[in-house]
Amino acid sequence: MSVINYGYALAQGLIQSMERDPNVFVFGLGADDHKELFGSVKGVLERFGPKRCFDTAIAENGMTGVAVGAAIAGLKPVHVHIRADFLYLALDQILNLAAKWRYMFGGQMNVPIVIRAVIGRSWGQGAQHSQSLQSFFMHVPGVKLVMPTTAYDAKGYLTAAIADPNPVVMIEHRILYYINDEVPDEYYELPFGKAYVRKQGGDVTIVANSYMVTEALKAADFLEKQGIYVEVVDPVSLVPLDEETILDSVKKTGKLLIVDCDWATCGVSAEIAAIVAEKGFGSLKQPIQRMGSAHVPCPVSKNLEDEFYPNARKIVWKVYEMLGKDLPKEDVPLLTHQFKGPF
């Protein structure tokens, strides 16, 4: 067990997967670069050489297709993107090809590709460097989707994604890279379709993902001091989704708030709300609430950006509103991690 950050945990998982399976390779913009994609490919080039770790021309869609073909022919590509926004360019290959290949051909073949992409936030990332895209992969059948929150998850889900025989998209958050966690030194995998109760409580269920989990936990700590106990459920794996853990929690609290680091409209939070409305309506004591980014492109100005994103303080306010309580006298501290540039 070592205490390491998210990026190094990913690198460790990748290296151990590459050691176990000689057909695993990693490629994409910056895969072999001295900045190491925020540490997430650290040591891979040195260890495995340019055959198994390489850069490409800037050609997201084409390179995703190359990954699909390589996977069909027996390799296990890990394709990396420094920002999730660039996945828009690759959606054709991910969603029209990779997601369909097995089913469309009657289950004869499979496409074991892993696509990693990082969500940006703050320091003027703006409209085109801050998007998350998870809803696309949840909407279209045929791709697994994980959003690891801790360094422990990051390693365990990357190894599981690489070992999985299907296309897996893994969406990470830039700010999570700063957070350290205890990570086993040896190889391990974590299971898809299992949600984590990050904190137990009986008053309100908060389902949050990725960076929003850390905000929800900060909110939960603050609320606890005020005598309010929220339960924080983190699905991590969105496809497949562990509906049961979410429904069980709602059964206990009767109150649900969903916080996604994305727009709410037609998003992951909409899907989870629909599932709870369909399957857990009887448990609900009041309408489900959702929080996500404001429904506009992300602005650069700090004060507009603060308005744009959900954060711990807004989660606290929302919980008070849901409980019909007046806000506490003491100000809710703004607990959001601050990120410093240039990238």
């Binding site: 910056g30 021309a57 003027g124 703006g126 404001a294 602005p299 650069v300």
Partner: protein, 330 residues
């Protein structure tokens, strides 16, 4: 063959020089301010590449349109954008060229023909083609320029854009600023054929590769291309060879990182656009060091004023978050 630049008179030189120096000084100021955290935006500086923005834009009319990338400060200045709005945008203020919504990566100045800058590589290339298509459709004689880097030619959309432009013979000029690197990746590690200007040939697009340090050379080549294209001729690719002085993103230098080729830096220092322009202007046109100092001081005063304006400007009001998504139908 390089078109002759001998028709450049002293006032043209003066203007080209001022454009380049303004970019150099303004971006140097950005790098100076950056450690104070007053600019909270990724900055992609075009230091070292000033001659391309200046030479290309100088060959254009005010009504001609240009499109650029996240590395857009230089073309904003060269096309005549308001420096106050540029700095205010870096400070993400309400008075910025995007009212604080776009930041450094999304400069725009439609009033002088800079129609937008995008931070998705290659994404404005087809947009420039569409703009040129509209000009032809509407019977206007303006030309449109797409600025992009050597990295952008890897994207499929580059091919698609060239093909459409050639087929429809739209008045567009593709300005490829080849600084040899896309982030930390060298052209020869991304392409088998590294003469990027040739990529359009099979589609019917003529390309040339030429020096991008000598502003007179940039201007002369661009002027000729504009004459061809505005006259109804085929679209063209102009590949200007250049060098980025700063790191890919951020205010620092990174020539000690091993991805960089020292020889390219040495060449770039030797062929510093501003120093070369000074030499020519001194030798042939009677400019003196005093003249250069005066110009520099004037520009610095303009930059001081722009920075002061940015610092004093108000931040956007919270309610602006939801404003500007859709235009009202009138």
């Amino acid at each position: 063959m390089t078109p002759s630049s001998s028709y450049l008179d002293s006032s043209a030189w003066n203007e080209l020089f001022r454009k380049m120096l303004k970019i150099r000084l303004a971006e140097s100021r950005v790098a100076e301010i950056y450690p104070t955290d007053k600019i909270q935006s990724p900055v992609h500086l075009s230091l070292g590449q000033e001659a391309i923005a200046a030479g290309v834009c100088h060959a254009l009319r005010p009504d001609d349109h240009i499109y650029g990338t996240y590395r857009g400060h230089g073309i904003f200045i060269a096309k005549g954008g308001d420096l106050k709005k540029a700095f205010a945008e870096l400070y993400a203020k309400n008075t910025g060229c995007c009212r604080g919504k776009g930041g450094s990566m999304h400069y725009v100045a439609p009033e002088v023909g800079l129609m937008g800058c995008s931070a998705i590589v290659a994404s404005t290339i087809p947009v420039a083609v569409g703009d040129a298509f509209a000009a032809k459709y509407l019977g206007l004689d303006r030309v449109t320029v797409a600025f992009f880097g050597d990295g952008a030619v890897g994207e499929g959309v580059f091919f698609e854009s060239l093909n459409f432009a050639a087929l429809k013979q739209v008045p567009v000029i593709f300005v490829l600023e080849n600084n040899n690197y896309a982030v930390h990746s060298c052209v020869k590690e991304r392409h088998k054929v590294t003469e990027l200007y040739k990529f359009g040939e099979g589609l019917g697009i003529k390309g040339i590769r030429t020096d991008g340090f000598d502003v007179a050379n940039v201007y002369a080549n661009m002027r000729e291309a504009v004459q061809t294209v505005r006259g109804g001729g085929s679209p063209m690719v102009l590949e200007f060879m250049t060098h980025r002085w700063a790191e890919h993103v951020g205010p620092g230098a990174d020539h000690n990182e091993k991805y960089r080729d020292r020889a390219l830096l040495n060449l770039a220092i030797e062929r510093d656009s501003i120093q070369m322009a000074k030499n020519t202007m001194k030798r042939g046109l009677g400019f003196s060091d005093d003249d250069f100092l005066r110009i520099e001081n004037e520009l610095k005063a303009e930059i001081d004023e722009a920075v002061g304006f940015a610092e004093k400007s108000p931040i956007p009001d919270k309610k602006e978050l939801y404003e500007g998504l859709f235009k009202e139908r009138i």
